[in-house]
Symmetry: C2
Subunit: 305 residues, 2 copies
């Protein structure tokens, strides 16, 4: 199985790096870091073993990349508008799209764009960040939960999972991708948004009773939204996720880094889409909606949108 990594950032470079390190053919599409990666390769520090990849198969134009069996979509969802045309050169007959993004409804969109191609979704539970051009610091975790949009792609899902595991990437196979996406939002919705609005990191947010209570309220609303959309998440998941976060290294979620660096935030797929899906099913999620509105205002103050 050959791979193309579309978006060589903190997530794509790490997973693509692991796959390449294990001997798989992996092409990387890079924009700003292209020259540096071409010259010096990828430098990835990781508690699971550092990687230095020389002679990386890196490209700066999708048109130049040879056909591969799977494309790992690892750019941020803020790049999804107009993405169809940009990834089209990579999507050949039978090329699988493996969506390693955060949010809801990306897979459905990719499937609409490429109706005959298999679409998988991977929820990445990973703390990692780019520290420079072609330089990634993998801080902790790394599990991918992998599901297929269409159950008839379950064999491909399982095969992909095996290849990832063989490359040292822990994988959990999920039967219900939709539910798994909502489960991932259980963490993403409260921590990403609050870390921006409160200009803080996970450890500080968890250490004050007011913000800790807010995290709980937001998680309960995610469960409410998921339930409205037909996805049952057990109430105990809230406490479990909070204890998990208590044990995490002090962390700035990706949206906080986007904010700090003046980049567009992933508000649409992480907030608008779940809120819209829940609203269609009659669920009004007031706290999540307020957080979304605050994020949009804050983003407008530096992007002017």
């Amino acid at each position: 199985m050959t791979f193309t990594v579309f978006g060589t950032g903190a997530v794509g470079a790490y997973y693509g790096g692991r796959l390449a390190e294990a001997g798989n053919t992996v092409h990387f599409l890079a924009r700003s870091d292209y020259s540096e990666i071409r010259k010096s390769g990828l430098e990835i520090t990781s508690p699971r073993g550092d990687m230095h990849l020389n002679d990386v198969s890196v490209f700066n134009r999708a048109e130049d990349i040879p056909p591969s069996d799977a494309v790992l979509i690892s750019l941020k969802t803020t790049g999804n508008a107009g993405l169809k045309e940009k990834i089209a050169p990579l999507i050949h007959k039978d090329t699988a799209l493996i969506v390693l993004q955060n949010g809801l409804s990306m897979e459905q969109e990719f499937q609409e764009w490429f109706p005959d191609n298999p679409v998988l979704g991977g929820m990445c539970f990973i703390c990692s960040r780019k520290t420079g051009p072609g330089t990634i610091e993998h801080q902790d975790y790394g599990l991918i939960t992998l599901g297929a949009l269409d159950p008839k792609q379950n064999p491909l899902r399982d095969e992909t999972g095996r290849i990832m595991e063989a490359a040292g990437i822990p994988v959990t196979i999920v039967e219900d991708l939709h539910e798994a996406r909502w489960r991932k939002l259980l963490w993403n919705i409260p921590y990403n948004g609050l870390s921006v609005v409160l200009d803080s990191s996970t450890d500080k947010i968890m250490s004050h009773p007011s913000s800790r209570g807010l995290i709980k309220t937001l998680m309960e609303e995610v469960i409410e939204g998921a339930a409205a959309c037909g996805c049952t998440i057990e109430a105990e998941a809230v406490e479990k996720m909070m204890i998990f976060t208590d044990k995490m290294i002090p962390y700035e979620p990706s949206m906080k880094l986007d904010y700090k660096n003046g980049r567009e935030m992933e508000i649409e797929y992480m907030y608008d889409r779940p809120l819209a899906e829940a609203a269609i099913k009659g669920a009004t999620l007031k706290s999540i909606s307020m957080l979304r509105d605050q994020l949009k205002f804050i983003q407008s103050s530096y992007l002017g949108n």
Copy 2:
């Protein structure tokens, strides 16, 4: 009628100044500005006419102030804890307490402390700020809506209103102080809190659709809370208050100034008390509660509480 101003800040100095200018006996209690006011008086710029008051009857100890008919309580509610002992030397038989603070339930508290004294509440619709020691910039408005906690004090309320009006202070008499307090919260709850959390001013908050929508949601929740507490505020008040704010000068509410200057914010009386009163009556105000929790977290980040 003689007055003592307890809290010679942006509000107390302005109203006390107007009363003194009109010939009433007004004593001022000042802390940090005492020496400056004693030396140079009070300097108040105002679109309704500048005032320079020389030979101000200013004190820095409540014990030294001669008895007066009314005490204007114009310090921030963050000073209300332990205030009973501090104002006790000023409260003689028949001394009226006129509470010019923002929030809910202050009058009830003062009445508990001084059960035999008349208690009035004044809601100040004023844009003003302290620009230096003894120096106040009155920016706009100035209306006081005046109500009595106990209806048997309505004659005193009316007399106080007449004296204020004679001093150039516009006054509206209200029959229901409790309802008037909730009406004041209709502005205070959304704008004070959001100006801190979004680190912004009223004009910017009103100019973006997301934050504008949030203001509306918060106002609707204030009306919901008021209704639960037996105070009917008509739904049209939301639109009216928003149009009013659109026409205001770009303004940083008092809580925003407290935040900018690293001072404690009036979270307890402006958020905790209304939320608690509504909760007792069975109303859960999710957006206001979220705003309160955010404010507490933000305050803890600079006060460490």
